[in-house]
């Protein structure tokens, strides 16, 4: 269903974009009274000058120029030269030959969007059911638990290390793992979180999660810069924020 939805959206977009230019390109098949008085926004028609140019690849001279007003005589000249459409400055829904194609494209986009949304809901429901069976690390809760464990592990182990250098190295090493593996894993579970908590709840949860992640990032930077005290304080704050995030996730 999702594939059909996306194909419908793509086809409708192509159709809509293709139909759009004709909004300003009235057909010269229209009666004169609908065209007379319109102003050209591009030149129209082509004729070879007399004498013809020496370069056989020359494109010729336009029959009418931009800003020329369409008159009965000019229309007749353009039609006799085989010109089918001209680009004008004025828009009229009635003159727009591609309007039905465009409306079809609009319907297609709405239909495609509906199919994608229905499929998305079904998949979310299915993923919710499967969540219990999924390995813990793959779920947002599992990823958060892993991040929390990285922070708590550091809080446990750091006091037992002998030098700040060892502590800083441990912080950089373990937080790198959390930053590059567990944080992205948590974020990839956004659809599950939205399904469980709604958009508002998701936003509130991510607000806390992001605050925690920033403290982790700061702890990493401070450790890399050799400012251990700052790094340790950031870990403390990250720990409290991880707890808040977990409460929101489980609440």
């Amino acid at each position: 269903m999702k594939l059909v939805g996306f194909l419908l959206i793509t086809a409708s977009l192509v159709l809509g974009v293709a139909a759009a230019p004709t909004a300003y390109l009235p057909s010269l098949d229209l009666p004169d009274e609908e065209l007379i008085g319109l102003t050209l926004n591009s030149s129209a028609g082509a004729q070879m000058p007399d004498p013809p140019p020496s370069d056989p690849t020359a494109a010729g001279e336009p029959i009418a120029n931009q800003d020329d007003e369409l008159t009965a005589e000019l229309l007749a000249t353009l039609r006799s030269a085989g010109v089918e459409r001209v680009r004008v400055k004025e828009f009229s829904f009635a003159r727009w030959s591609g309007k039905w194609l465009f409306l079809l494209a609009v319907a297609g986009l709405i239909g495609g969007a509906a199919l994608v949304r229905i499929d998305m809901r079904k998949r979310l429901a299915a993923s919710k059911e499967a969540q219990a069976d999924a390995p813990a690390a793959e779920s947002p809760a599992g990823a958060l638990a892993a991040i929390t464990e990285a922070i708590e592990g550091l809080r446990r182990d750091l006091p037992h290390m002998t030098t700040d250098h060892d502590r800083e190295a441990a912080i950089v090493e373990r937080l790198t793992e959390a930053q590059s593996v567990h944080v992205p894993a948590f974020v990839e579970g956004r659809e599950r979180i939205i399904a469980d908590h709604g958009l508002g709840g998701f936003a509130e949860l991510l607000d806390r999660f992001a605050a925690m992640e920033r403290q982790i990032n700061r702890a990493w930077s401070a450790a890399a810069d050799g400012v251990y005290e700052e790094s340790a304080d950031c870990l403390e704050r990250a720990s409290a924020l991880a707890e808040e995030t977990a409460k929101l996730l489980n609440g």
Partner: protein, 720 residues
């Protein structure tokens, strides 16, 4: 100043640092330091501020010159980040990751406003206005741009949580900058990869930039179309004897397939002329595409829709004038259809994005309000609402004053009767004014004003028509009320356009600044009247500066997020520094104009070394509005498509497609290669490997080009 007296010169965890008491772990939760200066960990320091201001001003000057010459600007943050390492960590031996980040934040805040200025202000010179630092109009425009810069930064701050914390937009270049900043702590191997990327980026770009210094470029290789002569020789001895397929410019030489800046694969493969498969030689686009990854393929898809479906259709259906030849069709279709449709798609997509993001925006605002007034006030990491409100009100007041002043300024530069010039050194001192069709007209003296009053109405009408003095939507209002409404609408537009630009930059790294600049000036012209060009450009410049600053602020905050910088500190330094940018840029512009006048007699544009391509595009739009040529319906059609695209897959889809329809294909194609390479690397080596090793290398490509381009521009600027 509360810097730590003797901080260590760290690059990796320092083995010499003395141990602290049990690692300070456990006990009560320490409050976050919210002052501007952090006594323990170097972040905002005097060194970082001075560094940022100097580097920002230098970049601003060089990039202003480059922008006026080639039409687009280059990434400043990445350059500042690399220079920050050299200066703060290398020379001063005490910079930290966060201090370098603050340095690059200030530098880009000073540099960025130039995009908004150079896309708009030069159009005044093209339209015959004169500006110089000795005149009030110059400083009025500068003041409006300063107001715009502050307004843009202040407006985007409340959206930080929504875009960065909640929507987690990728922001490829700011992500690359974060990689650069973190490289010392990430280990030597990653630093080597980063440096390798920088060197390769510079090496690839060298033949692109070298011709500006008189050196050889890629075009010197001489890879051209195979000669193919006409069956019949032209009778004109000056005409080319080659077919149009191989010699489009009719200069008698086969066209190059490889130029100094691009590779035309379409011509190499023999594709029909209306299909232009061209790749820009642009390492930054390649790197940005890699960092964006699979999501960037949507940009490529949009480009294919525009340039391989719509444009060939326009040609094959006879929708282009008959005098347009196949190879000219893409250029014609771009101006006539792609641009309005693309900007419309962007607008609709962004509007839908805002609608879908409302819960996140509401939550972000709630969080900021709570941090400003509520329980989390004491430990707030975010600039409070009070400061933001004051900044917005102050900037609004400046915008109103500028709009009010310019709205009541005469719109004519010559006397309507005697045609005596009313500006410049020889302008008469006393210039009486009158109001006609809500426009203020100035006269060289009372006698010509009396003659004007005595003219028959038809003649005054004819003058008004010849000078495009058509009334705007708000012309019927009291001028002060009109100025107030224009300021308010302008502020709302800044907010919306800032979101569009930040979303585009966040998702793809591309910012449609010039497109937004065009729309901004159109909006002001519609409100105030097509004849009020000076006012429209003044407000347009302010709004464009605001939009660019909003996008830059968001990018810097993303970098700050990734390195753990406190948003509040970044926001404060950015708000304080950004107003300097327009002043530097306007003074550089005035210098360039003075030099051009001396050497060519032309202030700017064709006939000078600074052709100001974007200002020429804006000039075409202004004359288009005055001549009724704007295809408003196409903007609307595009907006509807963009909005509907957003209700399907994800809200930003319309923005991505719109951006790609609007951008030149040669950059999209190179960007697309970067996206595809990322997907292949992820498939072969895994996502972690791609992030750990591929992203630093890609960031290096972005920076390598930017640094070399800056060096070349500075050299050209210095030696003229």
């Amino acid at each position: 100043m509360s810097d730590k007296p003797d901080p260590p010169p760290p690059a990796t965890p320092n083995p010499d640092t003395p141990p602290t008491e049990a690692g300070r772990i456990g006990g009560a939760l320490p409050p976050s330091s919210t002052g501007l200066f952090n006594p323990r960990y170097r972040e905002v320091t005097v060194a970082s501020i001075i560094f940022g201001l100097i580097v920002g001003a230098i970049m601003n000057a060089a990039i202003t010159y480059a922008g006026l010459k080639i039409g687009f600007t280059i990434v400043g943050s990445a350059i500042a980040a690399v220079l920050g390492f050299g200066v703060l960590r290398g020379i001063l031996r005490k910079g930290t990751i966060l201090e370098t980040n603050i340095g690059q934040t200030i530098a880009s805040a000073v540099n960025t406003p130039n995009s908004g200025v150079i896309f708009t202000v030069p159009v005044l010179f093209l339209l015959g206005f004169s500006l110089s630092p000795t005149g009030i109009d110059f400083w009025l425009i500068t003041l409006a741009c300063v107001a715009g810069a502050i307004l843009g930064c202040a407006f985007i701050i409340p959206l930080r949580k929504q875009m960065i914390d909640i929507d987690r937009l990728r922001f490829p270049s700011p992500t690359g900058v974060a990689v650069i900043l973190k490289s010392p702590g990430a280990g030597a191997a990653k630093s080597i990869v980063l440096v390798a990327g920088i060197l390769l980026g510079a090496l690839i770009y060298l033949p692109v930039g070298a011709p500006d210094l008189g050196g050889p470029g890629y075009g010197s290789i001489g890879w051209t179309m195979p000669a193919e002569t006409l069956a019949e020789a032209p009778t004109d001895p000056d005409a080319s004897n080659l077919t149009l397929r191989v010699d489009r410019d009719r200069n008698g030489e086969p066209d190059p397939i490889l130029t100094n800046t691009s590779f035309d694969l379409g011509r190499f493969l023999g594709l029909p002329d209306q299909l232009q498969l061209v790749f820009a030689i642009a390492p930054f686009a390649l790197g940005a595409g890699y960092i964006t990854g699979r999501a960037g393929l949507l940009v490529l898809a949009g480009g294919i829709l525009a340039y391989f479906v719509l444009n060939p259709l326009v040609y094959s259906m006879g929708w282009a004038p008959e005098t347009i030849r196949a190879h000219e069709a893409p250029g014609y279709a771009f101006g006539a259809f792609n641009r309005p449709l693309g900007i419309g798609l962007l607008l609709g997509g962004a509007l839908m994005g805002v609608v879908f993001a409302l819960p996140a925006i509401k939550e972000a605002m709630k969080s900021i309000a709570s941090a400003s007034f509520g329980a989390r006030k004491a430990s707030s990491d975010e600039l409070g609402l009070k400061v933001l409100v004051v900044s917005v009100l102050a900037a609004l007041l400046l915008l109103f004053l500028a709009a009010d002043f310019v709205g009541n300024n005469p719109v004519n530069v010559t006397d309507p009767i005697s045609e005596v010039k009313l500006t410049g050194d020889e302008a008469p001192d006393d210039q009486p004014t009158t109001t006609y069709k809500s426009y203020t007209l100035a006269f060289a003296g009372q006698d010509t004003l009396d003659q004007w009053d005595a003219l028959p109405e038809e003649e005054r009408e004819a003058y008004a028509e010849a000078n495009n003095l058509t009334p705007g939507w708000l012309s019927w209002m009291n001028p002060h009320v009109r100025a107030l409404i224009i300021a308010l609408v302008g502020a709302a537009w800044i907010w919306f356009a800032g979101i569009i630009i930040a979303q585009c930059a966040g998702m793809t790294d591309w910012s449609p600044i010039s497109g937004m600049a065009l729309l901004t000036v159109v909006l002001v012209l519609l409100l105030s009247g097509a004849g009020a060009v000076l006012g429209a450009v003044l407000l347009g410049a302010a709004l464009c500066v605001a939009i660019t600053c909003a996008a830059d602020m968001m990018g810097d905050l993303k970098t700050g997020y990734l390195v753990g910088s406190q948003p509040r500190r970044q926001q404060i330094v950015e708000l304080l520094a950004t107003g300097i940018g327009p002043i530097v840029c306007m003074l550089v512009l005035a210098t360039i104009v003075a030099v051009n006048m001396k050497s060519t007699g032309i202030p700017i544009g064709p006939g000078t070394p600074t052709v100001a391509p974007q200002a020429q595009a804006l000039e075409a739009v202004i004359t288009g509005v005055q001549g009724g040529e704007m295809p408003y319906a196409l903007y609307g059609i595009g907006a509807l498509l963009g909005a509907l695209l957003g209700i399907g897959a994800f809200p930003g889809l319309g923005v991505l497609v719109g951006l790609s329809v609007y951008l030149p294909f040669l950059y999209i194609s190179t960007y697309g290669i970067g996206c595809v390479i990322n997907m292949i690397v992820v498939k072969v080596k895994g996502k972690r490997w791609s992030e750990d090793w591929g992203v630093p290398f890609a960031a290096g490509l972005v920076v390598g080009e930017a640094i070399l381009a800056l060096i070349i521009n500075l050299t050209v600027l210095a030696i003229g």
